[in-house]
C-alpha cells in the first residue's frame, strides 16, 4: 500500500498561562507516529481534548509542530517556508465541524468556491458550478450567502470549497457532529461518493465511533495526546487490545465500563483509569508497538490476543 502522508515522532506542546501568570506546559501531541495510505480513509477517534484536531491541523501545517517531521508524498513539510508551503497546500484541504464559522459570511457561495480554484476566470466559474452540483447544491445557490443555507447545505458548501484546489488528502474534523441524523446520513453518503469520484484520501476525525466505523478503513485511537491503538476498522471494533479502545467500543454499544480513578502522575497516559495497571504502567509511557501486522498498541498488558 502506498504511503501518502506520514507523521514521524511529531510532538506539539502548548505553553499556556494559568490565571496566576504561571506557564503551563500542555502536551497536545506526544511523539506521534502515524501513516496514511493513499486512497484509504483513516478514522481518528478519542474524547474531547485528546489531541485529535491538533493532529489534523499539524498534519496540514496549519499549526507548526514542536518537533518531529511531517511527510507528504515523501517530502518533509516541516522544513518548508510559508511561500514554498503554499504551493503544496492545494494538495491537502480541511473541512471543519462548524461550517458557519469557517465560511466568510460576506461572500456568495460562488465567490467562496472560486477563491480556491486556480485558472482563468471562465475556468473558475465553470469549475465552481460543477462543484456545486457535485456536492448536491443547485445552480441558483451560486449567488447565495452562507446564512441563506441550512446547516447541512452549508457543510456541503464547505466540502465543495475544500475540493476546489483539487486535493488528494482531505482532513475532515468532526464534519457531521453538528448535524441531525437524517442530514448526517446525507453527508456521509456524499463523502463516500466524492472519495470514489476524486480518488480522495481521508483523515476523518470524530468522537463518534459509529460514524468512523462506517467510513474508515483503519482506525487510530487517541487518548490525552497519545496514540494508543491503530489498526483495521473491523479489528478495532471486534478485538481491540488497548483498555481505552475497548471502553470506547463498549460505550458505542451503550455498555458502561467500570472506570477507576486513581491519581497517577507519571507513567501511561491511561494509568489513572485503567482497570489492569501494574507497577510498570506507573513508571513510563508504553511505546506504540506492532503486535500483529498493521496493528499497533501502546500498552504493556494488551488485552486478548489479536493475531
Amino acid at each position: 500500500m502506498e504511503t501518502l502522508w506520514q507523521l514521524n515522532q511529531v510532538t506539539k506542546v502548548y505553553q499556556l498561562q494559568d490565571p496566576f501568570g504561571r506557564t503551563v506546559r500542555v502536551e497536545a501531541l506526544a511523539s506521534i507516529n502515524l501513516t496514511g495510505h493513499r486512497g484509504q480513509t483513516l478514522g481518528l477517534v478519542g474524547e474531547s481534548g485528546s489531541g485529535k484536531s491538533t493532529l489534523g491541523k499539524v498534519l496540514l501545517r496549519l499549526v507548526p509542530p514542536t518537533s518531529g517531521q511531517i511527510f507528504f508524498r515523501g517530502t518533509d513539510l516541516t522544513g518548508l517556508s510559508e511561500t514554498r508551503l503554499r504551493l503544496w497546500r492545494k494538495n491537502f484541504q480541511i473541512v471543519f465541524q462548524d461550517p458557519y464559522r469557517s465560511l466568510n459570511p460576506r461572500l456568495t457561495a460562488g465567490d467562496l468556491l472560486m477563491e480556491g480554484i486556480p485558472g482563468s476566470y471562465r475556468e473558475r466559474v465553470v469549475r465552481a458550478r460543477d462543484l456545486l452540483l457535485k456536492v448536491g447544491l443547485s445552480r441558483e445557490d451560486f449567488y447565495r450567502l452562507p446564512h441563506q443555507f441550512s446547516g447541512g447545505q452549508r457543510q456541503r458548501l464547505a466540502i465543495a470549497r475544500a475540493l476546489g484546489p483539487g486535493p488528494e488528502l482531505l482532513v475532515c474534523d468532526e464534519p457531521t457532529s453538528n448535524l441531525d441524523l437524517s442530514i448526517q446520513a446525507q453527508i456521509l453518503n456524499l463523502f463516500l461518493e466524492l472519495k470514489q469520484d476524486y480518488a480522495l484520501t481521508y483523515l476523518f476525525i470524530s468522537h463518534n465511533l459509529k460514524v468512523v466505523e462506517f467510513l474508515a478503513d483503519r482506525i487510530a485511537v487517541m487518548y490525552r495526546g497519545h496514540l494508543v491503538e491503530v489498526g483495521p476498522t473491523a479489528l478495532i471494533m471486534k478485538k481491540a487490545c488497548h483498555p481505552y479502545s475497548r471502553a470506547l467500543v463498549a460505550s458505542a454499544r451503550y455498555q458502561p465500563t467500570r472506570m477507576f480513578a486513581r491519581p497517577v502522575r507519571a507513567g501511561c497516559c491511561y494509568a489513572s483509569f485503567c482497570p489492569r495497571g501494574q507497577s510498570q504502567c506507573y513508571q513510563q509511557q508504553p511505546p506504540l508497538q506492532e503486535i500483529a501486522p498493521d496493528h499497533q498498541v501502546a500498552c504493556f498488558l494488551p488485552e486478548g490476543n489479536a493475531s
Binding site: 441531525d180 453518503n189 462506517f214
Partner: protein, 324 residues
C-alpha cells in the same frame, strides 16, 4: 391507578409579529411510575418545548392553546406561577444538557445541592441528606466542598442529578442529559439514571436526538416530527418494526446499520420550518410512501399493534376506495 404524568392534546403556538405560528399540535402521552418514555426527534422537532410546556417554563412569546397536563392526578394547566414553583423541584426534577450552565461557579457543590432542598429540615439533617444523595449519584463525600470548576463534566452532571432528585420528585425530565459529554462518560451517566429510576420508582421523560440511545434506554418511545408525535409505543415495537415512514427512515439513517462501502438510505430534504409547514402531513415532501391525500389532509393517530402511528397507511383509507 392514575399515571404519574398525563399529557393530553397539547397545542402550543408562538405569538410574534403578524400571525401566530403553531409549534406543537396534538401531543399526547402518559408515563407511569418506574417507566421511561423517550421523546426522540431531530433538532427543531419540538421535543424541548414539549418538556418545557409540562413545567410551564416557556419563553414569553409561547402560548399553550389547548391541552392538559396532569401530574399525579393534579392538573397543572390552571396553576398559577406561584403554585408551579412548588411543583418544580418538589414533584418534577429537571436535568438539562450543559451541566456547567446550571451550576453557580462561586458556591460549592454541596451548598448548591443543599439549597435545592425544599422541605424544612435542620442544618444537620440537610447535610446528611446531601451526603446521602452524593453517594447515590456516585460522587465522593469530599465533593461537597468542591466548586463546579473542580469537577469534570460527568461529575457536574451527577451533581445536577443529585439536585434534581433531592426532594424525591415523582417525575424526572432529562433533556439531552449526555449530549455534551464524552461517550464513555455519557454511558455511565445513562446507566446511573437508569439505576436511580428503578430504585426510586420515578417516571422519566427522556429527551434525545439519538434514537439508538433511546432504544437502549427507554421502555417506550415517542418519535416527534415538526411538532407532532408521529409514532409512540413500546421501544422494541417502534425500533424493530417502525411503522411510520419517518421513524423507519430515521432508523435507516443510523450508520451502524450498514456494511462497509454501503450507502446509507438517507432521507432527502431537510426538517421543515415551523413558519411554513407543508400542507397536509408535514412529512409528505420527504416521505417515500406518500399518497395523494397526504398532500391535503393531516392524519390522526391510528392504532397499529401496540403502537399509535400518525399515518394514513394505517387507517381511514377512504381515499383509496373508488368513488369516495
Amino acid at each position: 391507578m392514575e399515571k404519574t404524568l398525563v399529557v393530553k392534546n397539547l397545542a402550543l403556538a408562538f405569538h410574534q409579529e403578524r400571525r401566530p405560528v403553531t409549534i406543537l399540535a396534538g401531543v399526547e402521552f402518559e408515563i407511569s411510575s418506574g417507566e421511561t418514555l423517550a421523546l426522540v426527534g431531530e433538532s427543531g422537532s419540538g421535543k424541548t418545548l414539549t418538556a418545557l410546556s409540562i413545567v410551564k417554563l416557556l419563553p414569553p412569546q409561547a402560548r399553550l392553546e389547548t391541552g392538559e397536563v396532569r401530574l399525579n392526578g393534579q392538573s397543572l394547566t390552571s396553576l398559577s406561577e406561584r403554585e408551579m414553583e412548588n411543583i418544580r423541584g418538589r414533584q418534577v426534577g429537571l436535568v438539562f444538557q450543559e451541566p456547567s450552565a446550571y451550576l453557580n461557579p462561586v458556591f460549592t457543590i454541596g451548598n448548591q445541592i443543599e439549597e435545592a432542598i425544599k422541605s424544612s429540615l435542620s442544618r444537620k439533617e440537610k447535610k446528611e441528606r446531601v451526603a446521602q444523595m452524593l453517594a447515590e449519584v456516585g460522587l465522593d463525600e469530599k465533593h461537597y466542598w468542591h466548586y463546579p470548576h473542580q469537577l469534570s463534566g460527568g461529575m457536574q452532571q451527577r451533581a445536577l442529578i443529585a439536585m434534581a432528585l433531592i426532594n424525591h420528585p415523582s417525575l424526572l425530565i432529562a433533556d439531552e442529559p449526555t449530549t455534551s459529554l464524552d461517550v464513555t462518560t455519557a454511558v455511565q451517566i445513562i446507566s446511573l439514571i437508569k439505576t436511580l429510576i428503578k430504585k426510586h420508582h420515578l417516571a422519566l421523560l427522556f429527551i434525545s436526538h439519538d434514537i439508538a440511545l433511546a432504544h437502549y434506554f427507554a421502555d417506550r418511545m415517542a418519535v416527534m416530527y415538526a411538532g407532532r408525535l408521529v409514532e409512540i409505543g413500546p421501544t422494541r415495537t417502534v425500533f424493530n418494526s417502525p411503522r411510520h415512514p419517518y421513524t423507519e427512515s430515521l432508523i435507516a439513517c443510523l450508520p451502524e446499520k450498514y456494511k462497509p462501502g454501503e450507502k446509507i438510505r438517507a432521507i432527502p430534504g431537510t426538517v421543515p420550518d415551523f413558519a411554513n409547514l407543508p400542507s397536509g402531513c408535514p412529512f409528505h415532501p420527504r416521505c417515500h410512501r406518500r399518497m395523494e391525500r397526504c398532500f391535503r389532509e393531516e392524519p390522526e393517530m391510528f392504532p397499529v399493534a401496540s403502537a399509535l402511528v400518525r399515518c394514513f397507511l394505517y387507517g381511514n383509507s377512504v381515499a383509496t376506495e373508488p368513488g369516495n
